[in-house]
């Protein structure tokens, strides 16, 4: 699970918010229930108390106090109703006390006597027996003809407490389940909500790789998603325009340079053949012609690059043995290498069938080999080898040359980049060789890996997709 993903973060937020509000509701419910239960119990106690007050008032003077007890038993039935009734006549004579209640929730004898002055109005308070049985008590004083009575009513708090405990338990059990559900649900929902965005991203990516003219299908949802796909389409359009403009410029520029170059070259070449001019002048014209030659090479290099940018090199793809092409190219350049005292080894080449534009890929090998030869001192060697992996097959060109510093590695494929200004210029490189290599490789879906360090030589590894997969890649690339 991606911990930074929007879905994950929203899921967590969801869960946090939900557990906070659930806790708030739970606390409210808990205390609300407590308040309600107490209030209801207090009400019921006061109602009974009123009945008993009436009984006390109606007892005529001189009657046996036992009559009060009888009346209470009949009209209130405290044991049956799980209530405590205690009637005390001033100054402290216990007139009546109900018996053990039916649910045995408290022991009436253990309820401590009322402390403090007798209240004139009804009061409720909480008390506890010696056995820690909590009771809610209401007490009131009645002035009757037969004397002053303290009427106390009580009820066990246990049922309410146990209800609250149950509620608490229920809430505690529900909370984690709910939070987990909310988190998972949030994660899934956000993931689901983001899926169209994902699709937009994927199609946009594919379009950038293959077809700049294609556009995203706009889903008429009328919301941010629709706006997103529309603005991505606008962006693709502007991107295509600017890419096409720069490509056209490059192609046009190198194109337009060709005619004047032909004239310059032709006129100068004619001058060189003119016997009237002296040796020194001829030499100077020759020097200018050499520069014209470089310019010519540069222009054709740029044109090749702009063609590759447009993706032209895909129509002449064939299957061929890369090892044979590499060995053949090495043979053609061997004399040149040996002239510089450099050996080319090709014995590690094994048959490697790839699919592509043979002439362009030969250009890649020529450029890499040319580089290797130019940057390897006398006595060194260049070694070709092939290897096959599960996902790709590779051609490796390793030299024992001067190598490159790590800082240069990320730039060597840039147009006109030179690791060592003075040295490469002297050698006549145009600075486009490796750019052309990269462009051709990109068209073929070939990855280039470079290992190099100063003094240790360089190794260029071209990783070709397997012939079968490159077949499908090419048909996808040339598409409608």
């Amino acid at each position: 699970m991606n911990h930074r993903s929007l879905a994950f973060r929203l899921g967590v937020w969801y869960a946090l918010l939900l557990s906070a509000s659930f806790t708030l509701v739970g606390v409210g419910l808990f205390y609300g229930l407590e308040h309600y239960l107490r209030a209801a119990l207090g009400d019921s106690l006061r109602r009974r108390s009123t009945q008993i007050e009436e009984i006390a008032r109606s007892v005529p003077t001189g009657t046996a106090v036992a009559a009060i007890g009888d009346a209470i038993e009949i009209r209130v039935a405290p044991e049956f109703n799980n209530r405590l009734v205690r009637v005390t006549r001033a100054p402290g004579e216990l007139v009546y006390r109900s018996g053990v209640p039916a649910d045995r929730s408290f022991d009436p004898a253990a309820v401590p006597p009322f402390s403090g002055p007798w209240p004139t109005n009804s009061v409720t308070h909480r008390t506890e027996t010696a056995q820690h049985q909590a009771l809610m008590m209401s007490a009131t004083t009645v002035e009757a003809p037969s004397g002053r009575y303290l009427i106390e009513l009580g009820a066990s708090l246990a049922p309410g407490d146990s209800l609250q405990t149950h509620l608490l338990l229920l809430l505690a059990m529900l909370l984690p389940v709910l939070v987990a559900l909310a988190a998972a649900g949030g994660y899934l929902l956000v993931g689901r909500a983001l899926r169209p965005v994902d699709r937009i991203a994927q199609s946009a990516e594919q379009m950038l790789l293959q077809d700049l003219d294609a556009r995203l299908p706009v889903v008429p949802t009328g919301d941010a998603l629709e706006r997103l796909s529309i603005s991505v389409n606008h962006m693709l359009g502007r991107l295509r325009d600017s890419i096409q403009t720069s490509r056209r410029f490059l192609a046009d520029a190198s194109h337009e340079l060709r005619t004047p170059l032909t004239v310059i070259k032709g006129e100068l070449q004619e001058l060189v053949h003119n016997d009237a001019i002296g040796r020194e002048l001829r030499d100077r014209i020759g020097s200018v012609l050499e520069e014209v030659g470089r310019l010519e090479h540069l222009v054709s290099g740029l044109l090749v690059l702009s063609r590759l940018d447009v993706g032209e090199a895909q129509r002449v793809w064939v299957e061929f043995d890369l090892a044979e092409l590499a060995a053949g190219t090495a043979d053609q350049m061997r004399l040149m290498a040996e002239d510089r005292g450099i050996q080319i080894h090709t014995s590690n080449l094994a048959r490697t069938v790839v699919r592509g534009d043979r002439a362009r890929l030969k250009q890649v090998i020529v450029n890499l080999l040319d580089n290797a030869i130019r940057f390897t001192p006398r006595g060194g060697s260049v070694t070709f080898s092939t290897s096959a992996g599960e996902k790709h097959q590779a051609l490796e060109i390793r030299d024992t040359g001067i190598g490159m510093p790590p800082t240069a590695l990320s730039h060597i494929f840039d147009r006109f980049y030179r690791v060592d200004e003075a040295r490469s210029r002297e050698d006549g490189g145009a600075g486009l060789g490796l750019s052309i290599v990269r462009s051709i490789c990109a068209v073929h879906g070939v990855d280039i890996e470079v290992d190099s360090s100063p003094g240790q030589g360089s190794c260029f590894r071209l990783k070709f997709p397997h012939s079968r997969s490159s077949l499908s890649a090419s048909s996808a690339g040339t598409g409608p």
């Binding site: 005619t259 032709g266 070449q269 050499e290 290099g301 350049m333 004399l335």
Partner: protein
């Protein structure tokens, strides 16, 4: 032999015309497609040199019309495009040959002369220059009667140079003839081979045959 050049770049047209006139051709110049068509309708030409990018009437369209009226007129197309597809398109459109700008004038002359040979080239089996002898049948090279061993590429370079003694061949021309376009401009490969060739052909002998023309290329000739 009368040639027509249809090319909108006046300087290029004039320089090509001057060079061809020096090679004893009669040359007419047309600056755009329409003018070219008028010339073609008025005179009989042995060869047409045609730029494909022309004002008023495009070179491709002119080529199509020429093919209808004069199917056998050889046409050499000058183009600034060199992609393979374009080449195929030129031939399909009816060009007999094409040259990509910037071309070497020497190359243009070679192509023009080859196209004007109505009958198949009578292949000369033995090329000779001074006491140097190259036998195309046995692929043997002798100088002063002495056998000289050459590698295949060295032989290829020498054969090409000997095919037209006195003409200067550019490195590009030699590369395209003996190697292929992959090597163009990348390496000094031609120089290395010419140096090896000189070591075998020229160094042991007092008269040097292979000459360097700085900035242009190489040629074989007897005198300095």
């Amino acid at each position: 032999m009368r040639l027509l050049i249809v090319e909108d770049d006046r300087k290029l047209a004039e320089f090509v015309a001057r060079g061809l006139r020096a090679e004893s051709f009669a040359v007419d110049l047309a600056g755009d497609g329409r003018e070219g068509q008028r010339y073609l309708a008025s005179y009989r030409y042995d060869l047409l040199i045609l730029d494909l990018m022309l004002p008023h009437l495009s070179g491709s369209e002119l080529l199509r019309r020429v093919r209808q009226s004069q199917p056998s007129l050889p046409v050499l197309v000058l183009t600034a495009r060199d992609a393979t597809e374009d080449k195929v398109a030129h031939f399909e459109a009816g060009a007999d040959d094409y040259l990509t700008k910037p071309f070497d004038f020497a190359e243009l002359v070679v192509r023009v002369k080859a196209m004007l040979r109505r009958t198949p080239v009578e292949r000369i089996d033995v090329l000779r220059l001074a006491d140097l002898e190259l036998n195309r049948l046995t692929q043997q090279v002798r100088r002063g009667g002495q056998r000289i061993e050459l590698t295949a590429k060295e032989y290829g370079v020498l054969e090409y140079l000997l095919s037209s003694p006195g003409r200067v061949f550019s490195r590009t021309m030699i590369l395209e003839q003996v190697w292929d376009q992959s090597f163009e401009g990348i390496t000094n490969i031609v120089d290395v081979y010419v140096r090896y060739l000189r070591r075998k052909i020229d160094e042991p002998f007092p008269v040097k045959l292979i000459h360097t023309v700085r900035g242009v290329g190489y040629c074989v000739r007897e005198a300095e």
